[in-house]
Symmetry: C2
Subunit: 420 residues, 2 copies
């Protein structure tokens, strides 16, 4: 028989869960997103002399737990929107979203080319790709805090962020595949093949999911075993994620696609029972993601070696922060519509949050010829840039919304004074 799981692995998992929750709590008390606290606690644990913990955190068991957590997190994000909604939003927020992908990637690519003259084009592409992520969760929670979730700007930001997720994951898929082929700029034929694979996967997943999900869920709804809906949905997520990984894309791309594909229509046959739509699947997946996803962020923090933060890394990190903010704020001016504060839209798209971290992590696991694509220094610079955008964006966004509100109030008052 096989070996069992060692006692130390259970201790390490418990420790990472508790550390993540304490870090998240500290961040919340400072009115920051939890993910920042989880990351900071990870940086602390990773830079103290806890070699045993670091080794266990990178072992197969906790790697599995962390990746499963992030997979189910992306699945949850996907569940929050459906293909139908997506099509509607695309028309209005498409401009902001496209600019929000193109500008930061181009600026990130430029900064990387400038500051890392000896790196391969694949590295520059990857740095650029990481810059195009937008964290829906963080932006949504700030908008909720300042009571602006119903505003035109909020709809524009959230719509664009969701499209950014898809476009970003597509860019990530293409760039990963390019990096895997060697590191140099690929021939046009190779590029066409890679883009084709990524698009084929997305189209295939949509077609497959639309055709199959409804039928499978209708069949499964007649089963009497407990937790059928939840277990089936987790299995569906794992299968699409596995297919994504097997076709050379990141597993999270598939997990997100599975979430998008699963909507109230496919879950509808279960509605006669205790389940009520996709919320039931979310409620099932939430505890698993709540336990394991924070493990991912603590581990990410642990990978940042402060001793490796030399001048070059800090310069790269600073340049990336500037391009990351500049690119998204400029993209905000692509918003169409009257009476929109375009700076609010731009600020809302700045935080990279967990999505940026997941992108950076993918980059360290691509190792053409055995050498990781992203060196520890580049990785640390990326994580630092993600950290900074996530830290700076929420207060800037909140302040901008408050001052815009105050200004429009003053304008209305002066208009009324003129009338009277």
């Amino acid at each position: 028989m096989e070996h069992g799981v060692a006692a130390h692995t259970w201790f390490a998992l418990a420790l990472l869960i508790l550390a993540a929750k304490l870090g998240g709590e500290a961040a919340r008390r400072l009115r920051q997103p939890s993910v920042l606290g989880e990351l900071a606690v990870g940086v602390l644990l990773g830079n103290l002399p806890f070699e045993g913990l670091a080794r266990l955190a990178k072992g197969p068991e906790l790697t599995f737990a962390a990746e499963l957590g992030v997979m189910l997190l992306l699945f949850q994000v996907g569940l929050e929107s459906s293909l139908r909604e997506m099509a509607k939003i695309a028309v209005r927020a498409g401009g902001v979203a496209s600019l929000g992908v193109i500008l930061p990637s181009a600026l990130g690519f430029g900064a990387s080319t400038w500051l890392l003259p000896h790196a391969t084009p694949a590295v520059h592409l990857f740095v650029g790709a990481t810059m195009c992520a937008t964290s829906v969760g963080i932006t949504a929670s700030v908008l909720k805090d300042v009571g602006a979730l119903g505003s035109e700007e909020a709809k524009m930001i959230l719509g664009a962020a969701v499209i950014d997720d898809i476009l970003g994951l597509l860019v990530l898929a293409i760039v990963s595949a390019i990096a895997m082929t060697g590191g140099g700029m690929p021939a046009p034929a190779t590029l066409a093949r890679i883009t084709g694979t990524a698009l084929a996967f997305v189209v295939g997943a949509i077609a497959f999911g639309t055709l199959l999900f409804g039928r499978v869920y209708r069949l499964a709804s007649s089963l009497r075993t407990p937790y059928v809906l939840g277990a089936l949905s987790v299995a569906a997520c794992l299968l699409v994620a596995g297919a994504s990984a097997a076709s050379g894309l990141a597993a999270i791309v598939g997990a997100y696609a599975a979430g998008l594909l699963l909507d109230d229509v496919s879950v509808a046959p279960f509605n006669d029972k205790d389940a009520t739509g996709v919320q039931h699947v979310e409620a099932f997946v939430a505890p698993i993601a709540a336990v394991f996803a924070p493990v991912f962020f603590v581990r990410t923090g642990m990978s940042v070696k402060l001793s490796g933060l030399d001048g070059g890394t800090l310069a790269l990190a600073s340049a990336l922060v500037a391009t990351a903010i500049g690119g998204k704020v400029a993209a905000g001016f692509g918003a169409r519509g009257k009476n929109l504060d375009r700076l609010t839209v731009g600020f809302g798209m700045v935080p990279r949050g967990e999505v940026g971290l997941i992108f950076a992590d993918v980059g360290t696991r691509i190792a053409p010829g055995g050498i990781p694509l992203l060196s520890p220094g580049v990785y640390s610079a990326l994580v630092a840039a993600v950290f900074a955008t996530t830290l700076l964006a929420p207060p800037a966004l909140a302040a901008r919304i408050r001052s815009t509100k105050a200004r429009s109030l003053r304008n209305r008052e002066s208009l009324e004074q003129e009338k009277s």
Copy 2:
């Protein structure tokens, strides 16, 4: 950085989850406990030429998932009772429970000694220990099905089954420790040390938990991070399970102890929030256990090699089924109280279910000097015996309850006729 999780691992996990649910469903349709179906599907998968799946199922990732699932399952079982209730039940059901541990272990030890003359005493002890398990879950679901959950017999059965869990885990702990020291019968001093360690762990866990759980939960209840109660409880389970494993006992002993220690009193500080007692922790843990524990049972089935079922193994399996049923039925006659049907009590304690399988699994992972304590043949015989008791007990119990009801109804009618 480390390697990521391979696409095949995600596929294998999805496959095992789906196979488990389908097997469980088939069992339910045949009015059998789900665990039997999960086991049968595992035997099927393990004896078809799916070498790749078998290799992945025993890899570190799925081993982790399966053990985590079983750990959280035992944690849930522990949550269902508290130390307080335990003390009350012990007085009434103590006799049945003690006999239910002593008789089957002794008979199992005897059968093993007789049929495995070349095995070490540690093997005989282990076979005996596996025979003393009682599955609360399976018995409870049968009693519920026939509408007899409120009867005196049911209280006696469930009380004895819970005490059997504790006594059985204690026996398992002691026997595992003995087996780890070599294989022969240990010297009295060694035996005393091992029993001391096991008792010290149980007493220590109770003292530690009683002192600490209340305080930690009170402190944690002031945290604002989402899922604090659930994440803290999972971490507590992992820590006590890890401590159990580190002190030479099985990790599941600790997981069960953590569940026993956690009661409504320790969870009470959370009651002001959305949480309401220990049910909230159960609801949080349930999805994680529902996804991962079935993976354990499918894997267990996969370890049973039908090609290895020779005459000797079948003879051992038959002898174990006889002693397993005989021992528990005889224990039923130790029940104190009037108007009790002692055969009902005995039948109710026969199913070994998941607890027996978990015990057998522990035996394959003890490998003094690199050789697993239980050979594939002995392991298969144990699993077959567990399977048979779990298959035979529910219909026998249901039939006995129905006939007893009918008889007491006839008696009452004839009494009333005499009166009139």
